[in-house]
């Protein structure tokens, strides 16, 4: 069951194809990382998913509904937090909670205060005087208290200290564990995301170049370090090769369908790739191919 599904999504801004043929499937209960460099179309995709933009081609389904005609009841199931969101600086946290809670039918005050205590936040504090980390924490807690089924976060941990970031990401995992929440998270800081995401989509020029479960991806995609004498077509016969290059006397082949069994008779060392390396493999693939051929 997928919470979000997009198919062949296309969105222009003038002549620019900001999103060009995006296919996403975000499974229920996953923490899904929408990963890509700045300006690759992540935010536009999120805007399309939230129904703020009309797609020029393709379809979006969220909770099996068209975002353009979300009812408020469906909208209440989605929590949304973007980087630049804030509250009026003069407001006390208590007032802000009062306003926000009035909009939601289900509101979890216990969880709210339990989470606010972690950062020593009280009702009579003024929002404008909080630290950056406290502000972000307050906002995410405000959204968690809505008890959403789907959380959409646009660059959620940008500009935060390590400890705040860690707590923030741990909170996401706890939410998925305790409440079966689904999280869609757009980010370009991969080391952060690697701790928590279990599904990833690498976005390049408005398109997903790879979409998979992270565990699956890490199991499948490996880098083989072979002696230079190895015939390239020998490797291509056994595996789907993503990239191949020679470096200081070693032939490095990154393959997309690694199986230990297919190695038999091949003298090589197998290297694991972390999220950052995986991203680079897919993101720079085209140019590398150009060099090889």
């Amino acid at each position: 069951m997928n919470v979000i599904e997009t198919r062949d999504l296309v969105r222009y801004f003038g002549a620019v194809r900001a999103v060009s043929g995006m296919d996403l499937a975000v499974p229920t209960g996953s923490i899904f990382g929408l990963l890509g460099e700045n300006g690759c179309g992540k935010t536009t995709t999120i805007n399309l998913i939230m129904g703020a933009l009309v797609p020029h081609e393709g379809t979006v389904r969220v909770f099996d509904e068209d975002p353009l005609s979300f009812t408020p009841a469906t909208r209440a199931r989605i929590g949304y937090l973007a980087d630049e969101m804030a509250l009026p600086g003069w407001m006390t946290l208590g007032e802000a909670i009062g306003v926000q809670s009035s909009f939601f039918e289900q509101w979890d005050n216990d969880a709210l205060w339990r989470l606010l205590k972690r950062f020593d936040l009280h009702a009579d504090q003024v929002f404008g005087q909080l630290s950056k980390g406290q502000k972000r924490w307050f906002l995410i807690v405000l959204i968690v208290a809505q008890q959403p089924d789907l959380l959409i976060l646009d660059e959620p941990s940008g500009g935060l200290d390590v400890s705040v970031r860690r707590q923030f990401l741990d909170l996401l995992v706890d939410l998925v564990n305790d409440r079966d929440m689904t999280v869609l998270m757009a980010s370009h800081i991969l080391s952060d995301v690697e701790r928590v995401v279990d599904h990833v989509a690498f976005v390049k020029a408005g398109k997903t170049v790879c979409q998979s479960g992270l565990e699956d991806l890490k199991t499948r995609v490996k880098r083989l370090c072979l002696p230079t004498g190895t015939h390239r077509h020998e490797i291509e016969k056994r595996f789907t090769v993503l990239s191949m290059r020679e470096q200081s006397g070693t032939l490095l082949a990154t393959v997309a369908d690694f199986e230990p069994e297919s190695l038999s008779g091949l003298e090589c060392r197998v290297e694991h790739l972390n999220l950052e390396e995986l991203f680079l493999v897919y993101n720079t693939r085209r140019t590398e191919e150009g060099v090889v051929s």
Binding site: F13, V16, A18, N38, G39, G41, T43, T44, N47, M50, A52, L53, V54, T71, P72, A73, R75, A76, Y80, A82, E84, M85, A86, L87, P88, M91, E95, A96, G98, V99, Q100, S102, F103, F104, E105, L139, L142
Partner: protein
């Protein structure tokens, strides 16, 4: 309490209006100062009998411009947590609540200007030789409507083409009314400005046109806002 009930249009509207009140009630209360101060701006009490009664209305309109901006800009830019985009709320409903709130704010402040005139603040007052000008009363409302339109619509070619018309209309009206000051300096026969030479009928007609245009501006804004798309390349 079931879901459709909680999100019924009337309850959504009430919630949005309450939100506006909670966020901006202080500004409304402190805002009374502006029309009151307006009575003492632009003339010296006791020195001249000529009293530009238009000034408190203009000050009020300026304050409403500021208030409308503060209320609507975070919503259009989606920079506040409390904007429609982050809440389970119909976006048209959110706009309607703002319009209602700002309409009431305009009324509230205009009432203070009228009350100030009754109290003869700064020398103004409904005396025998001074009378009430309906088109002045419309200025705060008209400004609010124009500001709402300016904030909510996309600033494309069509927008500016229409806007130029409305801004010119407002400016023409202002010049026309201020012209009276230059043309008719205080005379012993008539110490008040604007004088009574402009018929009340003309003023009522002007007011009616302004009201109609204001309503029409808000109406077209609503239609376009419902269809407007947000976001760009980042």
């Amino acid at each position: 309490m079931n879901a459709p009930d909680f999100y019924s249009p009337s309850r959504q509207f009430r919630r949005a209006l309450t939100r506006d009140w909670r966020l901006h009630s202080i500004e409304l209360l402190c805002g009374i100062l502006y029309p009151v101060i307006g009575f003492y701006v632009g003339h010296r009490v006791g020195q001249s009998q000529v009293y530009p009664v238009i000034v408190p209305f203009l000050v009020t309109a300026a304050f409403l411009f500021y208030l409308t901006r503060r209320l609507c800009l975070p919503e259009v830019k989606r920079s506040s947590v409390f904007c429609y985009f982050n809440l389970p709320q119909d976006r048209l409903m959110a706009l309607d609540a703002h319009v209602a709130f700002l309409g009431m704010a305009s009324l509230w402040l205009t009432v203070w200007v009228l009350a100030g005139s009754l109290l003869k603040l700064g020398g103004a007052g409904f005396t025998a030789c001074y009378r009430w000008h309906p088109d002045f009363v419309m200025v705060p409302f008209f400004t609010t409507a124009l500001t709402i339109r300016h904030l909510y619509l996309k600033h494309g070619m069509a927008f500016w083409r229409d806007s130029v018309l409305w801004y010119l209309l407002l400016m023409t009206w202002l010049v026309w009314r201020f012209y009276g000051i230059i043309e008719q300096p205080s005379r012993s026969v008539n110490n008040y400005w604007p004088d009574r030479s402009l018929s009340l009928t003309t003023e009522w007609a002007t007011a009616a046109i302004m009201a109609a245009v204001a309503v029409w501006l808000v109406h077209t804004t609503r239609i376009q806002w419902r269809q407007r798309q947000i976001g760009g390349i980042r």
